[in-house]
Structures are given as C-alpha cells and as structure tokens.
Symmetry: C2
Amino acid sequence: MLYWDMAISPKIENRADLPHVVIIGGGFAGIATARGLAKKPVRVTIIDKHNFHTFLPLLYQVATAGLEPADVAYPIRTIFGDAPNVRFRHARVRLVDQRENRLVLEDDSVLAYDHLVVATGAIASYFGIPGASRYALPLYSLADARALRNRVLLALERAEVASEHSSVALHFVVVGGGPTGVETAGALSELIGIAIKRDGLDLDPSQVRVKLVDLAPRLLTAFPESASTYAKKELERMGVDIEFGRSVVEVEEHAIRFSDGERLEAAAVIWAAGVTASGTLAQDLQASPGPSGRVRVTPDLRVLESANVWAVGDAALVPADHESFCPQLAPVAIQSGKHCARQLLRVLKGEETEPFRFKNKGIMATIGRRAAVAKLPVGGVIKGTLGWVAWLALHLWYLVGFRNRLRVMINWTWRYFDWPSGPRLIVADAETAD
Amino acid sequence: MLYWDMAISPKIENRADLPHVVIIGGGFAGIATARGLAKKPVRVTIIDKHNFHTFLPLLYQVATAGLEPADVAYPIRTIFGDAPNVRFRHARVRLVDQRENRLVLEDDSVLAYDHLVVATGAIASYFGIPGASRYALPLYSLADARALRNRVLLALERAEVASEHSSVALHFVVVGGGPTGVETAGALSELIGIAIKRDGLDLDPSQVRVKLVDLAPRLLTAFPESASTYAKKELERMGVDIEFGRSVVEVEEHAIRFSDGERLEAAAVIWAAGVTASGTLAQDLQASPGPSGRVRVTPDLRVLESANVWAVGDAALVPADHESFCPQLAPVAIQSGKHCARQLLRVLKGEETEPFRFKNKGIMATIGRRAAVAKLPVGGVIKGTLGWVAWLALHLWYLVGFRNRLRVMINWTWRYFDWPSGPRLIVADAETAD
C-alpha cells in the first residue's frame, strides 16, 4: 500500500508498558495538554464526540457566512499525525469510574487510564429562563454555527416572499454584550447588508433590525470603559440597536419577553449570555462542584482529593490566586492544559508539582471589518484598525495548521476588499435534504 | 443603510410589464438559460429547493474530503447579483398548471409564468433493485457527498476501535464504471490511504478493499477502448479491485448481492450506476415521457405540443439528430440551456426558432492525482498527466465564480504537493450534533 510507512506505525511507538493518559475533550485545553505530552514517555488517548478541534473564537464568522466550517475545524488525528504516542478515539464518555481508574463509553466499552484529564469545556448557560434552551440559538459548536447561518439566510428568503413584510421576519435579537455578543451582532449586521446588496434581495433595509440586549450597563464589561464606549459607537454605526439593563424572562419560538413586560418579535434570538461547564460529566467527578458546575481543583490542577484525575480549561475552576478564579477564556484553557501536561510528567517522574499561574496576555474583541478593541496586560487599550490587525494576527497565529491559516487569510482578504463576499449557502441537514 | 444602492434596485429594473420567464432548477441547464436571459427584456425567476448551484462534476471530491462544500457550491443569487432582471425563489414546486400558465409551490402559493423552463435535472437510478434506494449511497447532491464522507470516515474510526477487524468494516463497493464510479473509486482509495498515513489510524492497510463492479465488460464505455484499459491499470495501481460482468440483485445495509449468488459485506455501497430524470415534475408535463422519464421535446427544445414550456438538460430528451438523443452530460445541459434562452427571446420577438445542435467538445474523466483520460471530439485520446492538467483547467474554467476557482485551485495545489491533506471532518447532522 502506497500510503503506509511502517517507520511511523503507532503500533510500534504506542507501547503498552507506558502509563496511559486519557484526555476527555479536544478543545483548546485538551489539545494543549496532549501537545505537552506528545513524544513524551506516555501513551495518550484523546476522546471527543467530534473528530475535529473547533477554533471557537471564529465560530461567529461561520454563523455569519464569512468563513466555512473547514476554516475553523481541524481533524484531531491530523494535529497529532507526527506524534505516534497520541491516539484519538471518536466516542462519548458515559461515566468516570474513579475507584477503578476507568471510563465507560457510550457503546459500553471500557477504557482504563493511569491519569485522566477532564477538558470537557463549557456550553451555553440559559440561567433557567423558560424557552431559552429550546428556542434561543447558542454559538458554541460548529453545528450551532451552521444552524444560526441557515436560520438567518432562510429568514431573508422568507421575508422576500412574504406579501407584507411582517416585523418578525427581519428582526434579530442578540442576548449578551460580551465579546461573543458584540462580534455576532456586528457580523450579523454586515451579513444582512451584504446579502441585500449583493444578492439583490427585494427587501427594505429599513425593516431590518439587529438588536443587542444585555442586563449590564455597558458592553464588554471585562474591558475598560473606553473600549465599551468605542464598541457601542461602532456597532451603532453599523445599524445595531443596543439596549442595556434589559432582563430576559422568556424566549418563545419567534419572540423574546423582558422583565418590564415588553414582548419583542424576532426571526431569531441568538444566545451569547454566558456559559456553564459542559454536561454532567465534570459535575459527577466531585460531590460539590464550584460555580457554573466547574470542577474544583488544587493549585496544580488536580481534581480535589484525587491523585490522578486532572481538570483544565472551561470545565475547571482554575485558581487565579488565593481568593479568585480565572475566567472561562481560551488563553486560560491553553495555559492550564500546558501546565497540566508538565505537572503530569513530574508526577510520573516522582517530582513535586508546581502551582498554576495564569499569565494575562490581554483580551480582544472584534466589532466589524477594521474595528476591534484589545486590552493589553499592562492596562492600555488599542482601538480601531490597529486593534483589528492585532486581533487578526493573533487569531491566525493560534489557528491550528498552516493550511487553515492560509484559507482563513484568503477569505478575510476577500472580505476586506469587498469582493463577492462569503459563501451564503443554506446547507440543509440530512432530514430535509434530497 | 450602508449597503443599499437604489441604482441597482431590482424593484426598478424588474418591471412588471415584461414577460415573466420561470426556470425550475438551478443546475447547469437552468443557470445557462438564466445567463442567456440576463439583462434582456424579460423578468426571470429561478426556483430551486437549494439557494446554491452545485458543481456536480466535483462532488466526488467533497465526498472524499478533497474539497469542502463551499468549494463546489455557489449561491444562485450571487451569480446573478449584477443582473437585476433575474430573481431567485427558494422553494419547491408542487405542480405545473399548463392550462392556466402557473405553478403551485409547496407552500400553496401560486406563481404565474409567460414561459416556463423545466431544468429539474436527474437523480440516481436504482433500476428497481431491492434495497438500492434505501441503503446504497448516491452521489448527486451536496447532501449525498457529505453523507458519503461521514460514512467512510466513521467506518475507519469504528474499524480502529473494533477488537477484531471484521471484513465488513473496511470494504467499500462502488457500483458503476462510468466517470462518476471511476472518479469516486480512485479518490476513495486515495482518501483511505491518506487517512491511515496522516492520521495515524491503527489499521492494517491490507484489510482495506475498494471494489468497483459493473455489468459492462470495461470501464468508461463512452470512451475508446485504450482509455478504458488505461483507467483500469491506473485504478488497479491505486489498489482498486475491478470486476466486470457483475449484476447487482440486492443491496442490504452492509452488504451487496450479485446475480451469481455471491454476497459481499461492505461498510458502504456507493451507487454510480446511472441516472433518471429528477422527480415526477418532468414526467407530469406530458402523457408519455421518454426513456428514464425524460421529457420529449421539439428540436427547438419546447415540450411537445406546448408553445411556452421548455425543457433542458438532464430532464429533457434532447435530440442529437433525427434518430438519437444526447447523453445526460454537463456540456449538453449547458448548451441546451443557452439554446433555449436564445429561442425564447426569438419567440418573444415573433421570430422563427432554430433547432438545437450539440457541439461535441470531448469528454473527460479523472482517475487520481496526475491521471486522467480525455477524449477529443476529433477522436484522439489524451492520457496521464497531460489529461489531468486538461481536466483540471477545464473544470476550473467552468466553476462558477472567481473566488471558487481560486479556492479549488489552492486545495488542489495542496493535494498535489501532498501536504497535510484534506479536511477530513465528520460534520454531524443536526439530529446527532450537540
């Protein structure tokens, strides 16, 4: 067989006598952990229900037809193609049996581990608001992004056909004024504008409304006030309505209700209001998990009272100092994964572990083409085009794989120069396709 | 609103007093017809159940993870973004009411036409073989391509996990030795080779088998015998088993049965055995349609006994000369669409119509990287790398949109130089994703 090379056979390198580290989750934290263990004297198995890593910071671009799924997803096997000691298993975990040091998978097979790393990430939090989990559209997976894109493009198609443009058809509500909400609202406004201009949709632009609502009194509360003011001004320039101090009490199929009794009709309600640790797996690890279901860990990132189970990234309540915890952000996930890998190797060598220290390298959010805000670790804020270029460079840098970087770069160059923009495909799911 | 420009408003250009031409189908034939009518004194509405045109000759590349859906699909609205007299309607047609000159759509709305162009294309033909339509995987839409890709990649994942590699897990059968079958078998063999090599799958390559079966005594029967011999040699070099004179009598979920009683287990049966006119719409147009349900048309491509209903492309029994009919191929679809547009404009001006004449520009099929066969209209055959380059150039030329051409070119350049190849993503459909 032409494509087979015995020299890199995993059968040879993946020796059964080496300690077995199982990592649940192929997000930023899980991938960073596995990278730290690649080509080290351990056997590593990454388990994920998807065979690809998703670059979550760019999901909103997929949702708004700026990028394609393959631009922000990368097969996990390919990432570790040159690390014969790292394996991938396409599966879901049913339960963790800490006493027996093994996992039970959904197909009832059993996987034994010497060390377990829980990197199961986070999912959208609906705070128990009625209808929210059923009708609001989150943006936390590739499937979410595709669903949102289809909903928006179909709403435009339907609005054109409707004999009278009802107000519901062209109203979109984004709940949440953090980076995801700001980025999605900005990109959504751009998408609709481009769709009407480029695709010759017979729609009255004055009927289109993208509204961003938040309970907080300003956007991007993790940033200094000047960044919030700038983001608000830019979004408003792009036609986004912004309302602060709005508390959502119910989400319906095509409407949203606020605590003051107002009911707003909308073609789609996009949910960017916050996250909680993913699923019940992380919670089941300990009797009393931390806020948002995050796993409580020791300073070296081991699950409290465990010697060989670790938790990293959004699923873990990663300590920032003695009093507080790190936010659920990509840099924390990456740094905690790297730290976990180093400590795990120390434990295997019988050495003392070191506590995790988060290095703040700043935060960033983009608002539209040529507009972004970046907060530097030393307190400064970069705004506007320079911020956008910095945002672009950083995100490209972190994108897994040179091929993906190039693809995304090309797509963005296109967007920037305003050529026939974006693959506005409504790709139906299997049940409706034929 | 920033993105709105009254000068190109379809409301102004799309004057209600102009004759209304409705085209059903946004494939090669429908798009060619609409292009011929763009910026002419008619109102055009293209109806399709998808909002994009699919470049069918490259679907097998999407199915085998060489290209992404967005590489071979292009939004129909964007194609006609500069033609204000061409509109798009995202809908399915329930029935054609020829007496009243109107269509009834699936949402019960009614669309009146002055001229109707039926360009509904073709779908896989299963020849009434039991189980074939249910279990075999066709390759005639973007959804088909995604389904096939997921099936193949999941089969590899499952085979690795299985304690004993059962023969079913790594066997793939392609039914049909025409261009689609040859291209798919070759690309499938490449995909599996790359997946095992690049992704470190713990699979024994000698267990993998891609088998191509056909009833005919040779591959590519539309080509001269030397092309068939070459294609067979190349496919066999890539590890594809080829069996001629095999008649399929039944397809099961994971097996295929032949007329000689042999039953072959397989992870997937890919169906490339032939096509029939799509759906019942075309057939309902006339009491006795032609072979494979194709609509019988006059030499100017009007449906027999109709003055204002036309049929083009795979859905029509396009006359080649007095005795025979054109094959269901992309060049016929494109040329018949162009011809229909010209004749339709003549009819509107009160001029005589001209009969359709197919210009044979040759046919081509690719077998793998750097191997293809092309049959020239004057009878010559080009084989090997030169054939592959010709195939590449021609397909890139016909790809709609400069952006798509560039994307596909980049992907192929990558493939050619054998870098971490192809987006081998298993993108789940909505019902299984979370």
